[in-house]
C-alpha cells in the first residue's frame, strides 16, 4: 500500500541530536525512506578566526573545537606549530601530554557511553558514567585549572608541571576504573533489549568506511586496524606497546564494544606512562632537583628531559617562515588533522581542521535509510558525533 510520506524535521533543537544537527527525514510510518543531514548551525568560523590572531591567541580557541576532548585539538595545533618552528618538546612534557590525552579519551568515551544509552532509553548509566567522568575532570582540573577548556599545552611543552600528589590520584583512578567498566558491562553488554537495538543496526562495511573516510573507533569497529597512535606515531606513543581493539561487524554493538575496550586500553596506557615518566612524581622530583642542582642538560633530574618547558615563547617574536605542515592526532572520535600554513608573520596564513565527526556525520544518512525511526538515535549515538567539531 502506498501511503503519503511524512516529512519530519529532527532538530536542530531535539533532545538527542547531540547539539544542533538537523535531519530531514521522510517517514513511511516508522520506516525511513529518505534522510538528509544539514549542518552548519554551530559554525563559529574557527578557520577564519585564525587569520586575525597570532599563534598564542589562537591556541585557547582550539580547545573549543571539540569541547569534550579539548586536549587532542590542542595537541594537534601545538605539534603543527612546533613542527613549523622547530621547537623541541622535553620528554616529561610529552609524557604529561600523553597522560592527559588518554585521560581525556576516557572521559570523552564515558560521556559517549552515557548519552548513547540515554538515546536508547536507559537513564541510569548516564549518571554512573558522569560520576566517573567527574573524577577525571577533577583530576584534570587539579592539573590545568579548568574542567573543559584546558588551554594546558603550549608551544614546546605544557604550561605547568603537575601538582604534588597528582600522579597518585591518577594511579588511584586507573586502579579503580576497570571495575567500574565491569559494572557497565554487567548492566549493558548482555542486556537483550540492548542487543536487539544495536546488533545489526547501522552496519558500516569495511569498504564503505574507507570510502567515507571514517576514522577512529567507528573504523576499527568495521575491522580496519588503523590508529594514528600506532601508524603515524606522535608524542611518545612509540615507546609503548598497546593493543588496538578491533571488531569485524561494524554495527552499533561493535562500536560500543570497541569503545569499551579502548577505555580499558587507555587505562593500561596511563598506568604504564605513570611508571615511566621521566623524573617521576613532582614531589620526589623537586627534592631530587634541589639536591642535584647541576643544571646540566643530560642530568636525569634537572636536565632537559625532565624540565617542563617553562620558557615563554613571545607571541610577537614567534614568527614562522613560509612553510606548511599537516599533523595527525588520534582524538577520541578519530583522526583529527590540523593543517597550518605560515607566511612569515606572527599569524597563521591558513589553518584547516579535518575533524572525524565531519566524516561520521556524512555517513549517517546512508546508514539510516531503510531503517526504523528509532534506529536514527541508535546510529547517531553510536557514531559519537560532537556537533561543534562538525561545524567548527
Amino acid at each position: 500500500m502506498i501511503t503519503e510520506e511524512l516529512k519530519i524535521n529532527i532538530g536542530p533543537q531535539h533532545p538527542s541530536t547531540h547539539g544542533v544537527l538537523r535531519l530531514v527525514a521522510d517517514l513511511d510510518g516508522e520506516y525511513i525512506r529518505d534522510i538528509e543531514a544539514k549542518i552548519g548551525y554551530l559554525h563559529r568560523g574557527m578557520e577564519k578566526l585564525a587569520e586575525s590572531r597570532n599563534y598564542h591567541q589562537y591556541l585557547p580557541m582550539v580547545d573549543r573545537i571539540d569541547y569534550l576532548s579539548g586536549f587532542f585539538n590542542s595537541a594537534s595545533f601545538c605539534y603543527a606549530v612546533e613542527g613549523l618552528a622547530g621547537i623541541k618538546v622535553p620528554k616529561r612534557a610529552e609524557y604529561l601530554r600523553l597522560i592527559t590525552m588518554e585521560l581525556n579519551r576516557i572521559s570523552s568515551h564515558l560521556l559517549w557511553l552515557g548519552t548513547f544509552l540515554l538515546d536508547l532509553g536507559a537513564t541510569s548509566p548516564l549518571f554512573y558514567c558522569l560520576r566517573e567522568r567527574e573524577e577525571i575532570v577533577k583530576i584534570l582540573e587539579n592539573l590545568t585549572g579548568q574542567r573543559m577548556m584546558y588551554n594546558y599545552y603550549c608551544f614546546g611543552g605544557v604550561r605547568k608541571d603537575m601538582p604534588d600528589g597528582w600522579l597518585g590520584s591518577v594511579r588511584d583512578f586507573c586502579e579503580s576504573f576497570p571495575a567500574k567498566i565491569d559494572d557497565y558491562e554487567k548492566l549493558i553488554t548482555e542486556n537483550p533489549i540492548f542487543l536487539e537495538r544495536t546488533k545489526g543496526v547501522g552496519v558500516i562495511s569495511q569498504e564503505m568506511a574507507l570510502d567515507f573516510g571514517i576514522t577512529g573507533a567507528n573504523l576499527r569497529a568495521s575491522g580496519v586496524k588503523f590508529d594514528a597512535r600506532k601508524n603515524m606515531p606522535y608524542s611518545v606513543y612509540k615507546d609503548f606497546n598497546f593493543d588496538i581493539p578491533i571488531h569485524q561487524e561494524g554495527d552499533c554493538y561493535a562500536r560500543y564494544q570497541v569503545r569499551l575496550l579502548e577505555m580499558r586500553e587507555s587505562c593500561h596506557l596511563i598506568q604504564k606512562a605513570i611508571t615511566r615518566i621521566p623524573g617521576g612524581a613532582s614531589e620526589k622530583l623537586k627534592v631530587k632537583r634541589t639536591n642535584c642542582g647541576c643544571n646540566k642538560p643530560e642530568c636525569a633530574f634537572c636536565g632537559d628531559e625532565t624540565k617542563v618547558f617553562f620558557k615563554k615563547t613571545n607571541p610577537l617574536v614567534l614568527k614562522i617562515p613560509t612553510s606548511e605542515i599537516t599533523t595527525f592526532v588520534e582524538s577520541s572520535r578519530g583522526l583529527s588533522t590540523c593543517y597550518v600554513r605560515a607566511n612569515g608573520t606572527n599569524m597563521p596564513d591558513r589553518v584547516k581542521w579535518r575533524t572525524p565527526s565531519f566524516s561520521a556525520t556524512q555517513i549517517l544518512p546512508e546508514l539510516c535509510k531503510g531503517g526504523l525511526y528509532a534506529d536514527i538515535m541508535a546510529i547517531l549515538g553510536s557514531l559519537d558525533i560532537v556537533l561543534p567539531e562538525v561545524d567548527r
Binding site: 511524512l6 519530519i8 531535539h14 533532545p15 538527542s16 517517514l27 510510518g29 516508522e30 544509552l117 540515554l118 538515546d119 536508547l120 532509553g121 536507559a122 537513564t123 541510569s124 549518571f127 554512573y128 560520576r131 548492566l187 542486556n191 533489549i193 540492548f194 536487539e196 537495538r197 526504523l372 525511526y373 528509532a374 534506529d375 536514527i376 538515535m377
Partner: protein, 352 residues
C-alpha cells in the same frame, strides 16, 4: 451506616432525597481524595527512588526532605499559561486529557481495598476494569492527532498500536485468574486466595509475568515508553500540552500506575488478604471491626512493592524499538499466554 447518614439529613431538616442521592457519591469522593494524594506521593516516590538508584539526592528543597515538591509542582502547573497551538483542533485538544484522565479515576472504584470495601462491587468487576481502562487510549489518540504536531502524531500512533497489541495477552492472562477463581468479582478473587499458598501467582506464574509486562506496556513505562520516548519523539503525544492539561496527563499516568499495580496484587498476590492467613487485629476482640485497616495495609504494601519493582525496571532497561515491541507481543507473549491459560485450565481441572 446508611441509616445514620440519613438521620443527619433528618436532623438538619433537609430533604431525605439529597441523602439518598449523595450516599453513593461518598465512596467516590473518598477515592478521588485518596487518588490525588496517592498520585502526588507516587510522583515524589518515583523521583526519590530513581535518585537513590542513580546515586543522586532527588528533590530536597520544598518541605522536609523535599516532601512537598510535587505539591509545589502541581501548583506551578495550575498557574501556568494554557497554550493551545494555533492549528490544533481545539475541541479534541481540550477533551483529550479529560478522556485520558477519567478512566483512571473510575477504575479506582473497582479496587477492593479491604473485605467488601469496594465502591462499585460489580459482579464482573475485572471485565469492567479492563474495559474502562482501555478507554484512556482514545484520549492519547485524540491528543496526538489534535496537537497538529508530527511528533505527537507518531507518539499517538505508537501508543494505540502498542495498547491494542498488549491488550490481548493482558486479558488472556487475567482470564487464567478467572479460570482459577471461577468469578470475575475482584472482591471474591482477592478473598478466594487466602494465605500465601493460595495465591494465584503459583499456578499461573507465567500469567503473572505476562500481566506485569503488559502492564508496563499499557502504562507506557520503560522499556515500553515508546509513545513518549523523549530521545526520539521529544515528548510524544503530550509535546504540545502545558499547564493543567499536561498535569492531567501526568496525574492520570501515575493514577493508572497505582491501579494496575493494585490489580496485579488483587489478581495474583492475594489482594488485601494477609499472606499469613490470619489478622493480628482480628485476634483482639474489641477492635475486630477495624480489621479492614490491616487488610488495607496489606494491599498497600503489596501494591507499593509492585510499584517499586516497576520503577526498578525503569532504572535498568533501555527502550524497545517499535517493530520489536510488536513482534514481542504477537509472536511471544500471545502464544505464551495461551499456553499459560491451557496450563491453568488443566491445573484447575486436575488439582484445584
Amino acid at each position: 451506616m446508611y441509616d445514620f447518614y440519613l438521620k443527619i439529613f433528618k436532623y438538619l431538616s433537609l430533604p431525605k432525597l439529597i441523602g439518598v442521592i449523595t450516599w453513593p457519591v461518598i465512596p467516590f469522593a473518598a477515592i478521588a481524595a485518596l487518588m490525588i494524594v496517592l498520585v502526588l506521593f507516587l510522583v515524589l516516590l518515583e523521583r526519590k527512588f530513581l535518585a537513590l538508584l542513580t546515586i543522586r539526592k532527588g528533590p530536597n528543597r520544598v518541605g522536609p526532605n523535599g516532601l512537598f515538591q510535587t505539591v509545589a509542582d502541581a501548583i506551578k502547573l495550575l498557574f501556568k499559561e494554557d497554550i493551545i497551538p494555533a492549528n490544533a483542533n481545539k475541541i479534541l485538544f481540550t477533551i483529550a486529557p479529560v478522556v485520558f484522565f477519567f478512566p483512571a479515576m473510575v477504575v479506582y472504584g473497582l479496587i477492593p481495598f479491604a473485605h467488601n470495601w469496594v465502591a462499585i462491587n460489580a459482579s464482573c468487576g475485572l471485565l469492567l476494569m479492563l474495559a474502562i481502562s482501555a478507554i484512556s487510549i482514545l484520549g492519547l489518540l485524540s491528543a496526538g492527532w489534535a496537537s497538529n504536531n508530527k511528533y505527537s502524531m507518531l507518539g499517538a500512533m505508537r501508543a494505540v498500536s502498542q495498547a491494542i497489541s498488549y491488550e490481548l495477552p493482558l486479558v488472556l492472562s487475567a482470564l487464567s485468574v478467572v479460570v482459577l477463581s471461577g468469578t470475575m468479582n475482584l472482591n471474591k478473587i482477592a478473598f478466594g486466595q487466602g494465605n500465601i499458598f493460595g495465591w494465584y501467582i503459583f499456578p499461573s506464574f507465567f500469567g503473572f509475568v505476562i500481566f506485569l509486562i503488559c502492564t508496563l506496556a499499557e502504562l507506557n513505562r520503560v522499556p515500553f515508553d515508546l509513545p513518549e520516548a523523549e530521545s526520539e519523539l521529544v515528548s510524544g503525544y503530550n509535546t504540545e500540552y502545558s499547564g493543567m492539561k499536561f498535569a492531567l496527563f501526568f496525574l492520570a499516568e501515575y493514577a493508572a500506575l497505582f491501579v494496575y499495580s493494585a490489580l496485579i496484587v488483587t489478581l495474583f498476590l492475594g489482594g488485601y488478604s494477609s499472606p499469613f492467613g490470619g489478622y493480628i487485629l482480628g485476634l483482639i476482640p474489641y477492635i475486630k471491626k477495624v480489621v479492614f485497616l490491616e487488610q488495607a495495609f496489606w494491599l498497600m504494601s503489596k501494591t507499593f512493592a509492585i510499584i517499586l519493582l516497576i520503577m526498578w525496571i525503569r532504572a535498568t532497561l533501555p527502550r524497545l524499538r517499535a517493530d520489536q515491541l510488536m513482534s514481542f507481543s504477537w509472536k511471544f507473549l500471545l502464544p505464551l499466554s495461551f499456553l499459560n491459560l491451557l496450563f491453568v485450565a488443566l491445573f484447575k481441572y486436575f488439582i484445584g
